[in-house]
Symmetry: C2
Subunit: 331 residues, 2 copies
């Protein structure tokens, strides 16, 4: 097999984050659960925005953040996602291509604007996301470029894609194309609420052997396995995938791959400003490490370095030179 | 005279800042002079954006920043400026009203989008601005609410408004309405390139006695006066206005008002991240101080505190609780 052109091709919801500070009282008054991502409709998007404080807009979206992270780490990355022909869509395309990510999905007008997520950041750095999917939920199977999928070492998918039916079909089709081409398929569980909505679908995907690399955090792996005990949950799920990566916030991360176990501590962070993108950048670091031939443990380390950088500032895309940070630490 | 409803009514270009990091080599390759604001057309806006790195969008505009600062300092503020009916225009209105600023100018479609300024921030924190005025340059006299102007203690105007003819007419009309109502008129020279473009117009305004409070930095006051010597420039210009405020970056600021001289040092800043908005927030602090009955020196201090906060992060609007910062320092 020839060396694939792309290290990672990520498919996900193309979302611009609208980030504002908020306090716990605001979350309580709005009936929001800290750390969750909820899907909202256009009316709720307008209502909540009217209540929110001044904001900054920064391109985001889970898989898009991961693609940007892979590129910032010196890898080659592509992204597939649906934006509308509007200013948010232009921002999204600019920001992703400016990081060096290949993003060729055409903007299309489905009568709804580009997706945005109103991210409320509390003083403890935690983010609560209110996502209006807009155009992103219309990503059609026809937007896929099969040759591009076949030419990427890893196809990376976010669990959030499972929410609306149209991109779910696109995701399932992309998995089939990647597997037929002999590529790896990576998947992130996204968040516990997403698992709660789609547990059967996610378990079906995993049980069918279509996922090679699975990313989860501690709460997510417990919820997916339906097990209170962390070790039991890891044992149950790792038996079904070639590689399982579980992030544990301040406790670092673990991986189990073909019977090999690895574990790293979290990287130190001077001040946690905004945890948005921590998991996305961890996945970017791990995949960049793996596609660059690093060991399982060093791949986890690259993930931890990338995650530490992104939580030290607002926004879910790297601002520092990640490649230099990793080179300084790991060579 | 009854107490006016607003402390400050600011009129200016309604601009969303699109902020990206850039190095000196990028500025050189683009032929840009560090620290300047240049006006660009739609084609150049597209061309430069294609070359720029990933960005964050934050509402800005000089006078808008000042209005947001006055509100953040506990004052009552209004803003007049032209946005289009698009996503950038919605962001702009949201961010300003979310700070408590009265912004009632209707969005209008002139066939051009809401203004944006591509702000390139170099590692030393200096910003180089590339502004596409779009809808902002169409602010018509008819957008003015004369009752609102008459009900503001201070009318505040940015020199940038002088660039296109239409908002210049609106500005001149607003000055007349404010003076007839017995209100103060404040004006900022904006930047040296703006003075270079409009020296005669600015001197005409000042010589005619229509400006009560003039804001400038060191380079601007020298350029306006056509004097190399700082003290000579201050003496020449302060003779023509009731109050002159001059900011001197790391050297603090001075004011001359009806023969009284005041001087304050700069507030310490842990790390200068982005100097965008320093002058705007200094003006906000000074005007908030004056309208809240503080002394000339303490008004300068409020300005220095507000400016120090805004240069410690990206974006030209305050993020910390300015009112609390000032109360902690000055009571």
């Amino acid at each position: 097999m020839t060396k694939p052109r792309l290290d990672v091709l990520a498919i996900g919801n193309a979302i611009v984050d609208i980030i504002a500070d908020a306090d716990d009282a605001f979350l309580a008054a709005e009936g929001l659960t800290k750390g969750m991502m909820r899907l909202i409709d256009a009316d709720e998007a307008v209502r909540l925005y009217d209540h929110m404080g001044p904001a900054r807009e920064i391109s985001g979206g889970s898989a898009g953040n991961t693609a940007a992270g892979v590129a910032a780490l010196g890898g080659t990355a592509g992204f597939v996602g649906q934006v509308a022909s509007d200013q948010l869509g232009e921002f999204y395309r600019h920001d992703l291509t400016a990081t060096g990510v290949e993003f060729t999905t055409a903007a299309t007008d489905f009568g709804v604007p580009t997706a945005r997520s109103m991210v409320l950041v509390t003083p403890d750095g935690h983010r609560t996301m209110n996502t209006f999917l807009g155009a992103a939920q219309h990503l059609p199977v026809s937007a896929l470029d099969e040759a591009q999928i076949a030419d990427a070492a890893v196809l990376y998918l976010e669990g959030y894609l499972w929410d609306p039916e149209t991109p779910r079909f696109a995701m399932v089709k992309a998995i089939d194309v990647a597997r037929l081409a002999g590529r790896k398929v990576a998947f992130t569980l996204s968040d516990t609420f997403c698992i709660d909505r789609h547990r059967d679908g996610f378990n079906g995907l995993i049980d069918s052997g279509k996922i090679d690399i699975l990313f989860a955090n501690e709460a997510e792996i417990r919820m997916l396995a339906g097990a209170e005990d962390f070790d039991a949950a890891v044992a149950a799920v790792s038996a079904k995938v070639e590689t399982l990566v579980v992030t544990r916030s301040e406790q670092g991360a673990i991986a189990v791959s073909n019977g090999e176990h690895a574990k790293v501590p979290a990287e130190p962070v001077a001040k946690v400003v905004d945890t948005t993108g921590a998991g996305d950048l961890f996945a970017a670091g791990f995949l960049a490490g793996q596609t660059q031939g690093r060991s399982l443990e060093d791949s986890l380390r690259v993930g931890a370095i990338a995650a530490a950088e992104v939580i030290s500032h607002y926004g879910a895309r790297p601002e520092a030179n990640l490649r230099a940070l990793v080179a300084a630490r790991l060579g």
